[in-house]
């Protein structure tokens, strides 16, 4: 028997992952990137070796996606990831059902290591585990003085726990009937404008001091996340016409569910929180927006609220009729469902939070950076070493929202360094 055939691992896609093969296309690839800027140029060979070592610890990342008759699934492969110098658009298409390829990619450019992942494989938290391990191995191999420092994250998950499908584990059938509050039937404000050519993404990033930002947030008696969310809501409203004002602004916030339910999975496990703000009925003053957002966070970020959604979605998936529908048909319906649900929010904001590295490794690292693909407007936030980086991605030519946002911050006296991915005039 062929050696390759022995013990072929395969896994069902977790609940959140199921939508991604259907929803991803060239304009929204469902790929996200984590980057790490070091102080010295990257060495390709070292990075390649570090990648091999990391992959041994996270074998799930060697998976490819296959089409079954009823569902897509993850199947182990013997493909080897090859480290390359960055040469493609950020967050380019990763999943192609006709091509057998890994669902992540490691590239480098100057002092940066880039790690791009297809969202069906894992979420931000899971990818960050892999990425931090990769960086540690890289530094461990490269610098002699780190040789004796163990490459270990402060993270006690066993190999089985990392593979856990936590959506399934915490699905409570008896609570499916609990429904979310009644829905607002009005259409949500969604920005639409001229797009960049060739499915390009515009990435605009701002780096600022965490402590300065925290100070500012504390002036409004709130946290950084609430403060940033409120600022984004106000920046969106700056660009809305009088007609647009009639529609509510909805900010979609992915929430890491691991702290709420006990889970250490390296696969997808996130929920969503929608914050709706209505400028036609509410004042729109920053202070009021902050109070409102803080209240929405407090209400939405409870185990009970988060599990309502989890249960409803998992119940849909467990539905016998839906399960026994062939994938070809399921694809169509899921595509329709996805396009309806994606019209229900204006902006998406992911906060990856503070990225922690073991102390010995910290001084070799300049900055982390996180962003993801979109066909709407979104931002990802992460912080490291006292610096916070907010990365806006957009397929649109207009950068007005970003301009409003950063000007609001700089007018409050916060120093910001802005960077963007270079595009030639024809690419714009």
């Amino acid at each position: 028997m062929n050696k390759k055939n022995q013990k072929l691992q395969w896994h069902r896609l977790d609940h959140a992952a199921k939508i991604f093969p259907v929803a991803s296309n060239r304009s929204d690839t469902k790929v996200f990137r984590m980057a790490c800027q070091l102080f010295e140029p990257i060495e390709k060979e070292v990075l390649q070796n570090a990648l091999y070592k990391t992959l041994e610890e996270y074998p799930l990342f060697r998976s490819i996606i296959k089409r079954g008759f009823f569902w897509y699934y993850l199947e182990g492969s013997t493909l080897e990831p090859i480290v390359k110098e960055e040469c493609a658009q950020p967050c380019s298409e990763m999943f192609d059902r006709n091509v057998k390829r890994l669902l992540f990619e490691v590239t480098y450019y100057r002092k940066r290591i880039n790690f791009e992942v297809y969202h069906a494989l894992t979420d931000g938290t899971g990818a960050l585990l892999f990425f931090r391990t990769l960086i540690m191995y890289y530094l461990h191999i490269k610098y002699e003085e780190l040789e004796k420092v163990p490459v270990q994250l402060d993270y006690g998950a066993s190999a089985i726990e990392r593979l856990d499908d936590s959506f399934n584990r915490y699905y409570d059938k008896s609570k499916v009937s609990e429904r979310n509050k009644k829905k607002d039937p009005r259409r949500v404000f969604v920005y639409n404008g001229e797009r960049l050519s060739g499915y390009r993404l515009r990435i605009i990033e701002g780096t600022m001091s965490v402590s300065k930002l925290r100070e500012k947030a504390h002036e409004y008696h709130t946290t950084i996340t609430v403060f940033l969310t409120a600022l984004i809501i106000c920046s969106i409203s700056d660009e809305m016409t009088l007609k647009d004002i009639q529609k509510p602004v909805v900010i979609n916030i992915p929430v890491n569910l691991r702290p709420y339910f006990t889970s250490l999975t390296a696969r997808n496990f996130f929920g969503l929180l929608n914050v709706t703000y209505d400028f036609s009925r509410q004042s729109g003053k920053l202070k009021d927006v902050i109070t409102y957002v803080a209240e929405a966070f407090k209400e939405g970020l409870t185990k009970e609220q988060l599990s309502i959604r989890l249960n409803a979605l998992e119940a849909l998936e467990q539905n016998a009729f839906l399960r026994s529908t062939p994938l070809v048909i399921k694809d169509l319906f899921m595509k329709m469902g996805y396009s309806i649900s994606s019209k229900k929010y204006t902006f998406s904001l992911s906060n990856v939070g503070n990225i922690e590295m073991p102390e010995a490794f910290e001084k070799y690292i300049d900055m982390f950076d996180v962003f993801r693909s979109t066909d709407k407007q979104l931002a990802c936030v992460c912080s490291f070493g006292g610096q916070l980086r907010i990365s806006f991605t957009t397929p649109f030519v207009s950068a007005e929202l970003q301009k409003n946002f950063f000007r609001r911050l700089s007018n409050m006296g916060i120093d910001i360094v802005v960077e963007t991915n270079p595009l030639t005039d024809e690419q714009r």
Partner: protein, 224 residues
């Protein structure tokens, strides 16, 4: 680092315009060192392919228009230009499959097989229905597909999960001519007979030698 006095932000950029407001920006007085950007310029690779595609589209249109024109001038032989259009469409479908599934040869072969089956059945129907498709084309096609799959498999040393489904489907298609045999619509039963016999042998070889791989693959593909 550069500075935009309108937005009051520092900017890392080789450009001389602010990425936020598109106004001219100036060098910051604070620091003179040039900060390296985090992203490379990306050049496009797709344009060359686009040109080939444009030529092919243009040629197809020319061929269709010219054949209709000639057909109208020499209309004595009937509407043969319709067949030209059909042929052009078939070539396009076939090329599209070949291109999109170029990384998965087994899948490609099966799709091409399906296309040829449909085309020959339709072609047979519209050229008088002599039954050449079911007498010869389909059985020979299915036998060849099975042979090609076996060859591809052995040359590329594919793993079970990469060939099993396609081999099974190929084998099952080979059983189809049994319908022609039983219904007695064939003028020449030999191609169909060999095809059915061949596919039974082919399928049983999979079952006997790769039975466990097969059940595993089916369990994966049909997980509920």
């Amino acid at each position: 680092m550069k500075y935009c006095s309108q937005c009051k932000v520092e900017i890392i950029s080789e450009d001389d315009r602010c990425p936020l407001c598109q106004n001219k920006i100036m060098k910051s007085v604070k620091e003179n060192e040039i900060q390296e950007g985090s992203f490379p310029y990306i050049t496009d690779l797709t344009e060359r392919y686009q040109f080939i595609l444009q030529i092919m589209i243009f040629l197809s249109i020319v061929v269709i228009v010219v054949s209709f024109t000639i057909n109208i001038i020499l209309h004595s032989k009937g509407w043969w230009s319709v067949f030209v259009v059909a042929a052009v469409i078939c070539i396009w479908i076939s090329l599209a499959i070949a291109f999109r599934k170029r990384k998965n040869i087994s899948k490609n072969i099966l799709w091409q097989m399906l296309l040829i089956s449909v085309v020959s059945l339709l072609g047979d129907r519209f050229t008088g229905g002599f039954g050449w498709s079911i007498n010869y084309v389909l059985p020979v096609l299915y036998i060849s597909v099975m042979i090609v799959l076996v060859v591809v498999n052995n040359v590329l040393k594919l793993a079970a999960q990469d060939y099993m489904v396609y081999a099974l489907l190929g084998g099952l298609f080979g059983i189809i001519p049994v319908i022609f045999l039983v219904s007695g619509i064939l003028n020449n039963i030999y191609p169909s007979l060999f095809c059915v016999a061949g596919s039974i042998i082919f399928l049983s070889a999979i079952l006997v030698f790769r039975g466990r791989d097969m059940t595993r693959e089916l369990r994966r593909r049909f997980h509920w």
